[in-house]
Symmetry: D2
């Protein structure tokens, strides 16, 4: 690591080796060669056998990965054109094939098709992590489906829910992300072989006006590169609208992770749920006992950055003029890798956190007990209504005493005396003891939370995970920092 | 119109009556009543016949739309709770049913389900406009599929394309928007009847522990309201992630419109293509002859605003704490209508512009003629290579003369003399006359643009439009300003 | 209120009448007339006395505010040009002056100068609210400067601070906002009288080539309208960069309010500090006792929206082509009022909340007591070091026991036993009693918080407020919802 | 360069060595040591002479820069705490001073103060480039102050301006950026020595309750580090609101550069003005003659990214909880360097382009001649009015003929015949010859553009540049790509 100049923290700190490699020069330039090989093969197969010979194809394939980076870099410095520089370097290795490398193609033939291939691969990596996060959370939900805990609205105690049920909400959101990835994959097509401004002018010349062959070449190149479809029409590049959709999809994962992480940071303050604590981690120099939710905090920040990238892609797409302007170049060069690397970093954290979350049932019970009399007001109210009291009137009675009891807690720092207050009110047709029985131990206030959790896991989550059973498990979720 | 206080321009200037009405108080509160009726009906149908009687249902249905807004507003002012205020106002009209209005429900039962219904309806309105824009552009593409015009990269003249082919690019992007709307529609589900924090606690009590009936009620309410599915799990509200996806989808349309509009503004400067000019429109006080592309400019600005809303929804979703916090309220109240109204305004403009675009073939030909010798350099180069010259060497020769000829045009304001220069160069094996023949009249440089246009329209666009034939046509695209 | 179409909630719900009026048609068109009067007066004063007569000036001044909106609207509908329509309507009232209304000017003469005047006035309104919020918070800080409370980092208990000290942080941020408003005010200049593309071509003709007079007219018009300076150069409009700075400045206030509001929502959960509760406010239909921090939540959401507007203005400015493109029109028409109205709404809430915040000292003390033994670890550690123990070693000892005690609290739901654990460790040279004395009652852990509060209020805040004593007080902070 | 993993393009391609070094690990950790030395010196000077001895100070100063990165990295890996790891590494070099390194301080003592110092230095680097861009443009304006050229509104030809005058608009915007940098510099203060949560608790203990000394230490440390002021109050960190302001300021430069670059790209299409062409630059593989405005396009894209960062900082600040949450860490670690590096890259391009812009006067004249009859309509109109015709009526006459002449140009591709049409209209009191004289050669339509340019340069720009004469010139504006 060079300590004398700035180093991108995404690479030096947060991401997986696989994703770092995906956006390396090596992967990029090797993919360029894959594109050139596919083009030559297609041209050969479609009848240009004199021009593109089997010997040339063999030569090209034999040198698919032995890139002399220094030669290419020196040539690029001279002619200031990266594609021609790599055509040159490839040609040095393939003297026979040299004249037909990149035949009829424009720079964006390798540029766009390579970008699209990297994104397809990137989406697969993302999907693998995402599916495993969902699996982790599904296990967590099942385990804690019955554990009653305070629900919160306005971050004020509301009716109880269960720990498992709450976590189904995160899963449902992540499944929406998964849906959108799958939908995006149906939108990612090859740019194919379209020529300078997308008209395939050089190719129709090459094939002497045979439109059918040019269309077939386009599709053949795409198929050889592993694409299911090819964009029907393009300008110089594939539509930058696709980039916008890609990053929106990734940012969706960021947003889901952000919501989860913020909730976990709040739970951590409440001392009811925590991310796993790494061995030897130092909380801070002064306060060793602290269990700071640092991974959740980091997820929050990384997700914020990821969500902040979306606007760039919208603006780039919306401001592309005609067949293409190059104001897309530098920003895509930075932001596409950043978007995937950020998603990777977030999911690495999410994997780590979701597989070891700690729950403190006794703290949960303590919080619940403090609020239970308040929790039960709706139930008490309905019981009063059943005894013939007017709902509107009882609403007021309960409200007055609740507010008073709330004041005792806040202003006196004393115990909740709501039930006593209610029992003493002549409008309430119950004794303290009856009210206590109504309140119960809390478990009955969770409604259908346990059942919802099971139903959701069985009917929604498991079938989705079953589709992805090949990529479940086997992920190293250790973090370097 | 009240001129003494601020008026929202989206309403006073840019949008359709239909969309304005969709986000009115009337629509909202009538939809609340639809929700209450559906709830009561479902409760009745699932066996609560003593509690919810046929007479009550009749009464509720009879007063589905006669809202006394003043009574509700006065009550809201008193108790500061809009849902209870409307329960009260409804109850005044339905004295028998009064005790069972909103039975077991929480405010978000009407809040969320109504929001979702409005969005579903809003998406239908958007889709209708979108499909008609696509149809307009498809007609335009077919008409101009052969008309050769300069292609541009870097906004510098590049190889020619055709007017029709260029416009297929906009259609392809709009079809992606259509795909995303359809995908979004598959994600929009009812919030259903879930109770305060989503646990259905009050309902399971109402149905004496019968889980099956509570599930059925949830689905029945959704079905009665016209939803195909119901969210499996919710907090107090449906997930705000859906809002994020909704506005991303709408903003996608904005981005497509933005790209189109900016291109049209550039074409307008080139005097080759224009939006239709409205009768009596005054260009500006001083320059009456100007044909200012004001609708395209307005589309640009409105689209920018629409795209700028996406981040709000991501941030709101990502910062929702637990089962719900109310920091979503004011911003959704403004931004959801704004997003739909902006989309509506943009599509109104797009409809208007796309059905009357003016093309000036003679100006197009003039531009083409100026650049044609440059255009043909690749062809000349390949012809030289066919005559046995080295590609690398000829590349340099052509470059030098092209640059020189470019200078003559720019620096002398004179005619392009590229062909003469090339013919005079001994390295070039052609006479001026031969070069002129190589250059031709330009039509042969468009490659497969006409064929691509036909193929795209026939194979991609027409099948999609056929799916929507019921909503094609019949839109009034007149603009008020 | 029209319930049949969408109504902008900013106006119908959240803002002050003053700000609503500022962005009304009435204010706008009256200001246009002020501009025309200033122009005519300046032309007269600089010697065009034959052309612009005293009688004309009298007539113009006499009809400065009697706008016939219907006449203007009808004319605009006919000629589709709002400025010429209002010139016409003014001319009907001023038959003598009619030929010289708008003499030599372009539409943006009234457009830009009016926008700038409204923004200047808007900034004054904002500043008044802002200064009063600061004053409210200053009083709160002074009152609670000594009240020890838990400090939080990672939202985990850290060393204590005081309630007053914490609130100085909000003030410091608001003072930065005030600085930026003042700096912005120094940047807001008149657009003046610059002509169609900013060259003053019509004016130099009007003044027969007298450059000095045209410059003077420019400055005179600006001065008459109340501007200190006039932009040295403009295109057709004043630079849209200024709009970007204006909205950044307003969004700064939004961000400060957002941080404050989120903290208050967390404090509200902790039951240690709350916004004032309005009489008759209904928490929710089901949970009457809840004290939901609804105003803080609303501040959060409104601030989010305000911050989200900044990007629009950057994009509009950055994409203005040459002397002006009209893609700025619709978006500015919506977003400038929105930015000011949102700021107004946020500050109304901030005023309301900041003047009645409720503090619960006994709850604060309870929280503090739970964490105090942990709080004191640094002090204990230093005491051990003073007794000759190695800092590194004691750091480890304290860490181990803190972690253990933390576990007891979380896992057992029991009391903190840290001091006992430490006293039992032979490495620690203190008894339990000695450790308890070290821990004390907490007040000594607040360091210089009380002193910092006083110093900051006396040295920084009071001098700033003294500058604004004329606008302190007298604001109605009641909220309609 | 490691080609196997992703490399940040900002570093590998676009930025100056100076800025890359500023955000290196070396600079960061050396600055930490500067902070520790300043702290120890201040403690010594304020009387802690027994604790902090002269020998210790000498030792610390002697090892200010000999950082053993490997030792620190290994320690950090072990204890997962970067500050303590560097305290350890420093201590190994300074065995005597080891116990008093970082005495009483918290991690953010080095963290925040270092960040602030780097930002101060970064602003100086930015300012140097910015001032030199302004100087380049000022020279360009002076040179072309008289050169008449078409002005554009709606990107349609409007009244002429001059090349020099148009470019004053960019300068005025950049001067606003300079104002905002200067204002920002007045807001950047030291975080100073404030302790864990900002209360200076450890320091007041260290100084045995002497408040005066702790305040003095705070200020002394700040002064030693080169700050003019110290933040009056802080939480654990300095307020993240400052970061928001910093990046807004940098993004302002991005926005100014964006507007300039987009205009230049349009001018390049018009062939009237271009960025300098680098030797050996290859336009594209197929079209060698093209002069693609690649640097302007790159400026556009980089500026878009820079502007897109602003929202991140607002969100981070607005979501900081209490004294600090660590969701700021990863995002600031990436985005602060990115913001400065992007600004640096943009200004490098701006410097390069602004010092060699090419103007083509003959092309400019050609464009002007095409539009001149249209340009003169206002003048003709006013001449008619002077001859007693009604302004309203002549407005209509001129409009009708202008529209007709415009049609001839667009629809027939023929010459503008406006003057003939007007002369033939009986309502117009001029012959063709008289009209031609009215139209003139165009120079008289530029109004005060030349004078405005001189006045602006003399009165506004030169005084500002004079303030910065020490940093004018001497910048290498060569680009590597």
């Amino acid at each position: 690591m060079n300590r004398d100049i700035y180093q991108e923290p995404l690479v030096s700190r947060y991401t997986s080796r696989e994703m770092q490699e995906l956006f390396s020069e090596r992967t990029k330039f090797e993919t360029w060669r894959r594109c050139w090989i596919a083009l030559a093969e297609a041209q050969h197969e479609l009848g240009l056998t004199d021009l593109v010979t089997p010997a040339m194809l063999d030569e090209l394939r034999a040198h698919a990965t032995d890139i002399d980076f220094e030669v290419a870099a020196a040539k690029e410095k001279e002619i200031r054109h990266d594609v021609m520089a790599h055509v040159y370097a490839y040609g040095l290795k393939c003297p026979t094939a040299e004249p037909i490398i990149h035949l009829g193609a424009t720079s964006q033939f390798v540029g766009c098709n390579t970008d699209l291939l990297l994104q397809k691969k990137g989406l697969q990596l993302v999907k693998k992590s995402l599916v495993n996060v969902i699996a982790n959370l599904a296990g967590f939900c099942r385990q804690h489906k019955d554990l009653a805990t305070l629900g919160y609205t306005h971050y004020q105690a509301a009716q109880p829910t269960t720990v498992g049920k709450r976590n189904t909400l995160y899963i449902q959101d992540l499944l929406m992300d998964l849906d959108y990835i799958e939908h995006l994959e149906s939108q990612v097509k090859a740019r194919g072989a379209k020529g300078t401004v997308g008209t395939q002018a050089t190719f129709i010349e090459l094939f002497k006006g045979d439109h059918d062959k040019v269309r077939k070449m386009d599709e053949l190149v795409a198929a050889k590169l592993g694409f299911g479809e090819v964009f029907a029409v393009t300008g110089q590049t594939y539509t930058r609208k696709l980039d916008m959709k890609t990053v929106e999809t990734l940012a969706g994962i960021g947003a889901s992770a952000h919501k989860f992480a913020v909730d976990l940071r709040l739970l951590s303050n409440l001392k009811v749920q925590e991310e796993p604590f790494e061995k030897n981690q130092v909380g801070s120099s002064a306060m060793a006992y602290k269990r700071n939710p640092m991974r959740s905090e980091r997820m929050t920040g990384l997700a914020r950055k990821l969500m902040g990238l979306v606007g760039n892609f919208g603006a780039t797409y919306a401001n592309q003029w005609f067949e293409r302007t190059l104001d897309d170049s530098a920003i895509r060069r930075m932001d596409i890798p950043q978007a995937f690397l950020l998603t990777d970093a977030i999911l690495k954290l999410f994997l780590n956190v979701s597989q070891g979350m700690v729950v403190y049932p006794k703290q949960i019970a303590r919080h619940l007990a403090q609020e239970l009399p308040f929790m039960a007001t709706e139930k008490i109210l309905m019981a009063c209504v059943e005894k013939g009291r007017s709902r509107q009137e009882m609403h007021e009675v309960v409200k007055v005493h609740s507010v008073a009891a709330g004041k005792v807690v806040k202003e006196e720092g004393m115990e909740n005396d709501l039930l006593t207050r209610l029992a003493n009110d002549p409008a309430v047709p119950f004794s303290v003891q009856e009210l206590k029985e109504l309140v119960g131990d809390g478990s009955e206030f969770v409604g259908r939370a346990p059942q919802q959790t099971d139903e959701f896991l069985d009917e929604v989550v498991m079938p989705r995970l079953a589709q992805y059973k090949d990529i479940l498990g086997g992920i190293d979720s250790a973090l370097s920092v």
